[in-house]
Structure formats: structure tokens, C-alpha cells
Symmetry: C2
Amino acid sequence: MTLPTLGLVGLGKIARDQHIPAIAATGLFELAAVVSPDCATADGIMGGVPSFRSQAEMLAALPGLDAVALCTPPAVRHGLTVEALRAGCHVLIEKPPAATLSELHDLAAEAESARCTLFTAWHSQFNPAVEETRRRLADATIRSVAITWKEDVRRWHPGQDWIFAAGGFGVFDPGINALSILTDILPAPVFVRAADLHVPANRDTPIAATLEMGAAPGSRIGRITADFDFLQQGEQTWSIVIETAAGRLDLTHGGTRLLVDGVPVLAEPDTEYQRIYRHFHRLVTDGASDVDGRPLSLVADACMVGRWHRTDSFDW
Amino acid sequence: MTLPTLGLVGLGKIARDQHIPAIAATGLFELAAVVSPDCATADGIMGGVPSFRSQAEMLAALPGLDAVALCTPPAVRHGLTVEALRAGCHVLIEKPPAATLSELHDLAAEAESARCTLFTAWHSQFNPAVEETRRRLADATIRSVAITWKEDVRRWHPGQDWIFAAGGFGVFDPGINALSILTDILPAPVFVRAADLHVPANRDTPIAATLEMGAAPGSRIGRITADFDFLQQGEQTWSIVIETAAGRLDLTHGGTRLLVDGVPVLAEPDTEYQRIYRHFHRLVTDGASDVDGRPLSLVADACMVGRWHRTDSFDW
């Protein structure tokens, strides 16, 4: 049986560290082409795989291409996704799936009219520990949820000015991973009640943020808070602590480890991207889509109801 | 035939100026109760109609109530709508229908599971001139759309501090009316590309904003701009100028008048709230809902991708 062919668009860190190894490890798609404005880079990384300078060139050269995985910055994802869907390709989009909610709604409609699969891949949702946490919370009385997501932007996004440009999400770029886990594990919808957003004097997106959230009345879910920081020195923290009537859950290391009342229950190696490609393949086979706008809604809501504060300038 | 009964929740300016006269003029609902924290006010305005201090009291006293119209500030609409839907009431919500998009999505789901009508009433959409503009733009090549929405907050919202508190929308409170017309008249979805938001030093929401928008590729729609100002002295402006390949449309006076190449085509008296109650009655009769999240998405998107600027303090 021939594998569906896939073009990888954008060859940044996430494409090289995660997508290419996961495509190889799962063996469900044939990597048929890569797209990078800098062809020399693409040739250097990919050896035998054809490389193109733009998605349009790739689509023209490979009219039978089955699928595209988009790993570009969010600002250009809407246009590229529309282009790929209209060429009849199934599309997997890295998180966040679009620059705005209006774009994301439009993409869902475009995928439907193109009869193609659209998959908004929130990678943090694809950890076994996240799934196990969801299972344990399904019928729980949840007293509180505290998200702490603190990392050093200089270490994880060195020199990436786009992240602090308008539309670049700032600290919400990692923070939205926590929110994608939150909406996935809780048995009821979550709402932003208030937020404080701290924006460097010389930048346009937050470098730190705190959110107060809550769930609908009658949902047996108490206070939900998030503390996002992009200037964390030393130990990096990506954890969610959930206090339930039956005990405490610690989902740590970005959703890869689960402790129940302090006792480790799950700690699997990081295979989230393999699970993502398996899910994408299943969606394509089933003719289905998986479009999850909840994490992006929470960020937009936080920006809309939040208080904006100016803080110290940030330079690399 | 007995009319469906309706409870009016919130007795502010919009309820008194628009809802009560429209309910009387259309004669499709029986105004069965009003809710106001200040009962004396309610008694003074409504004479014979029973008044309650909270919606919960009203729902307990009138278990057969058919419908509720919510005219409270946006921050409390989600909780009140859920309460009314769970009591089996159809709900009409004043604009904006919720404080956040997550709340609005939840309300749509609640209405579906309660099998009740939910109607997010964007009143500016209910003008004959708006409908006529939509008809004329259906197949047009649209070169540009320029929204100018400039009014004096001291005149229209005197002393209403909530509008400048976090979550109060600021200049987007009137501006969202323009956006609700925009999404209604254009034949393709609209996206925010960039925004500048000007927030007074002593407040938390914008007092002025400019938006750069666009539509999907292939939609024959050019540049779309919006200029919102809350400090307009003298003449107040609520206009949308649309340049098409076939000529120019001026939708003025908040969407109530239409000029085609400078010639008045439609100028009807302001009957939008009568049309709103007719539409609500039809939805209830048909067992349908009308939930339009597009204007709120555009505001949230503008806040997420926008540049925030501090401007002079604002005092009444």
C-alpha cells in the first residue's frame, strides 16, 4: 500500500526537532517535499527530499500531493492553509493554528467546503499523562487548578523578535500550551474572568501574564489560575497542580509526568509528535477534521478583558 | 391566542428607550415582569408590571415564564443567560452578548441542550438600509471599506465607569455596532490584520482605536479600515463608506441611511428594535436560535494582535 504523501512547510526548530523525526518514526506518511525560503538549508537538512522556496511552487510541482504540515510562524498560516486546502491537500497546523479567531473559523469552513481534513495540532494535548489526568478528573470535585508556566525566552526562542511583535503572542506562545491542556483535562468549559498582562516598553506582546479563570455554575470546579513568565532563570517550570476532593494531581514537565498525592503515576518519554501524526493519519483515513479553538479563545479573551501594564524594556 | 410572556432584566437606558416601547409596539410578547436591583425605579417606570430585585426571584415567582430579554452590562450576562435557559426560558441578549468568546460558545451549547431559543441581538444589523447594502454588495467588487465611528462618551454614557473598567469594551462598545454591520453586509469573512488601541492612563479599555482588516484571498474585497473615537466633539459620526467597481455606497447615521453615489436611497425611521422583537418571536415560533459571534471575535482579535498605547487620563 502506498503511503499518503506529505509536504512539510517551514523548516524551523519545531520542524527539525519534532516533525521530521516523528514522520520517520511513525511511517504513516511519505515525506515528499519540504518548503523553506532558504533552499540551501532545506537541501542541507533533507538530502534526497525535493525542496521548494514556497508552498505554491511545491503544489504546482506535485499536483497529487495528499497532505501538508504547516510549521511556519502563525501570521502566515491562514493564507497557506487556504492555499493548501484549495489544492485538495489535508492540512496539519502547528499551534497556534492561526493569528486570530476569525481566521480559524474561516479555516474550518474552508476545510469543510474542500472536503479535506483540517487538524489543529495542540501538541501538549498528546501526552499519556494528560489523557490519564482527563480520565481522573471526569467525575471529580475540583477545588482548584493552578497553572505555573515559567521559562526563559532567551533560551527557547533566542533572537526570535516575531514573538514580541504584534500578533506574536509573547508569553502566550508557551502559555497557550498550558491552556490547551487545561481545556482538554477539565470536564466543563473554562472562562477568563480577569487578567493582568505585562508588556515590555519596547515590545507589543506580554512577557508575563496572570489569569483568573472559572467554570460555569454547577460544574464542581473552583478557582483556576495561570501564572505565565518568560523571564524565568534557573529551573524551568511547566506544571499544573489540581486539588480535588479525592486528592492532589501534579501534572508536570509540560504535561508529560503525572503525580497523584506526590506519587509518580506516569512518566513517559516525549512521544507527543508521534501521537500527533498517528491522529492526523486516522483523521485523513476517516475523512474527519479536528479543529479545537478553545485555547486560542482563552488567549483572545484574556487580551480583551485583561489590564495591560508597561514593564521594563526587553532586549536579547 | 395568548402571547408568550417575557421578563425584562435590567432597566437601564437601552431598556427604557428601546425595549419597552418596541415590546409595546410589536405586541408579540406580554411584558410579564421587570428585574432591577432598585425596585423603586422599576415600580416608577412600569406601573402595573410586577418587578423583582433579581432574575432568580422572578423565575421562582413566575415558573411558566416563556422568555427573558437581558439588558444588563455584559459582565453578568453569561450567568444570567445560563440561569434563564436552565429555567426553560428563551433568551434575547443585548449586544455584546457576553464578556468573552468562551462564554458565548458556552451559551450556544447551553441553549442547544435546553432546547431553547438564544438570540444575540446586534441591533445595528436590523436596519432596512443595512439589509439593502448587503443586497447590493452580494456580487460587487469592493475596492475599500472605511468605517468612521466617532461619538462623545460623555454624552452617550455619562458617568458609566464600567465601560472603561477591564471587560467594559471602551470605544469598542459603540465600535462593535459598526463591526456587526460590517460582518453582516460583506459577502466574505473579515479578518483583523493590525490594530492600534489607545487606553487612558487611568483606565483599562481603549478610548480610541484604529483597525486594519482584510478578507480572504479571492474574495474581491480590498482594504477595510475602522476608525473609532470616543472623544468626538460636535457632530457625531457613525458611517461606513464602501467604494465598489460600480460606485460608492454611504451607509450613514449608524446604518439607518443609505446613499448611492451621493443620492439618498433609504432613510427610514429608527425601528430596529421592533424588527428585533419580530425576529425573536419568529425564532421562538420556529424553535431556532440566532447566535452571531463574528463582531465579538473581531474585537477579541483586535485586542490580541493590536498594539496598546497609553494616552491622557480620562475623567468625566
